[in-house]
Symmetry: C2
Subunit: 244 residues, 2 copies
């Protein structure tokens, strides 16, 4: 028995999320099904965290125990021959038996993509969130920076989350422009449920003048969900990286 | 009766192409159906040219005659409320009765997107063509430039095209890198069937060392389809612009 960790890119559009569910196909199940097809072995896959339906991953980290004799460096090529084309294993390596994709993760990085334009983009419909208003890039950049630090983010979570503490450390939170699209990138030691989508919604509110960048520290301190912006849709969100 | 020209962006993935066909839904039909839903009027839509199944458009130009009283500047907003989200009307204006989207077009611009990487990208599966080899950017850039000018492109067409002349003028042909992706952009007075996809395939052959950039003039002059590169798949191709 060996423990293997893989890095996975997926387009979340066709899936009910990372986690196996009763209704709908999950990325986890599609990967396990493909692995079974390849090797005849049933494996239990552990991701660095769940992603919701429609959320994409550039670098989800997944570990599992296996008896396969396929060498780790050949596994991505083999697995990709049986995976659907919207899931791709980019990398695989053998890891220590104490490694756990979820429990050992030290930092995670997410991206949220959005743009402002009179009409939505047909080509970006599943990949970035559209707003019709005019935006203020400098104010949004300033707003993003206010999320850096260690704070109690209890106002930035969806109801229904069960966590011991709502304090999280954000190492970096930046906004860049790529063509017509804004890329908000946030790296932290952990994230509450829907936290990135609410932070992105708050930055957009600053961009369209519904909030001021310098209101952010007060909004965080208030712990009041109602003072933050809207939860933006899942399809603009990307799990970029999990670090150990 | 007024003649209106619209600029349309679409994701070609779900369609059998621009042109109405017996089997499968075309972009043309989806647009006509939506217009009927909006106004109760059946219109005949004329595109600047056909696009094959899977080919995308950033700026297809479409004209039609209509009795609708919706002002041209409001039409994109109204039409978009009834269109599928993978088709978006970006712009509309009233045009002269002599304007014809196909017969009056003076220049068209296409993009072909591709990338080189050990594994394909799950997120770009419908949007860019993947190659596993290592590439030579400078040679590919040089290769692209060789297509600029007026040439007989009879070696760069799929069989089955029925055209009076295979001479075309290419005003510009350039290769740029956007992140990990190469964007080949070509502007000309017209294109033969599959011409952009064959030129892109020839540039990729140069990139992976199967051909040399300076072989291109000879290959064009030979008129021999077998000396050019492969026809790349439809999903990497974008109709960017039609100019009048």
């Amino acid at each position: 028995m060996r423990r293997i960790a893989v890095t996975v890119e997926y387009m979340g559009t066709a899936y009910c999320g990372w986690q196996r569910q009763k209704n709908g196909l999950s990325v986890q199940q599609a990967m396990a099904d493909a692995f079974f097809k390849l090797t005849g072995e049933k494996v239990t896959l552990h991701g660095s965290g769940r992603t919701d339906a429609g959320v994409h991953a550039l670098g989800q980290v997944v570990h599992f125990d296996t008896n396969t004799t396929i060498p780790a460096h050949k596994l991505p090529f083999a697995w990709n021959t049986v995976l659907p084309s919207d899931i791709r294993v980019l990398d695989a390596k053998e890891v220590d038996e104490n490694f756990h994709a979820r429990f050992c993760v030290k930092r995670k990085t997410y991206q949220y993509r959005f743009y402002f334009s009179p009409h939505a983009s047909a080509l970006r419909k599943d990949f970035a969130c559209h707003f019709t208003q005019e935006e203020n890039f400098e104010e949004m950049k300033k707003a993003a920076k206010h999320f850096e630090g260690t704070f109690d983010f209890k106002g930035f979570q969806a109801t229904g989350g069960h966590v011991k503490t709502t304090v999280r450390t954000i190492y970096s939170a930046t906004l860049e422009k790529e063509g017509n699209e804004y890329v908000f990138e946030i790296c932290g030691n952990g994230f509450l449920y829907n936290m990135v989508r609410i932070i992105a919604g708050t930055i957009v509110y600053v961009g369209i003048g519904k909030l001021k960048a310098d209101d952010i520290p007060d909004i965080i301190a208030s712990g009041d969900r109602k003072r933050a912006g809207k939860t933006l849709p899942a399809y603009g969100l990307y799990l970029k990286k999990a670090e150990y």
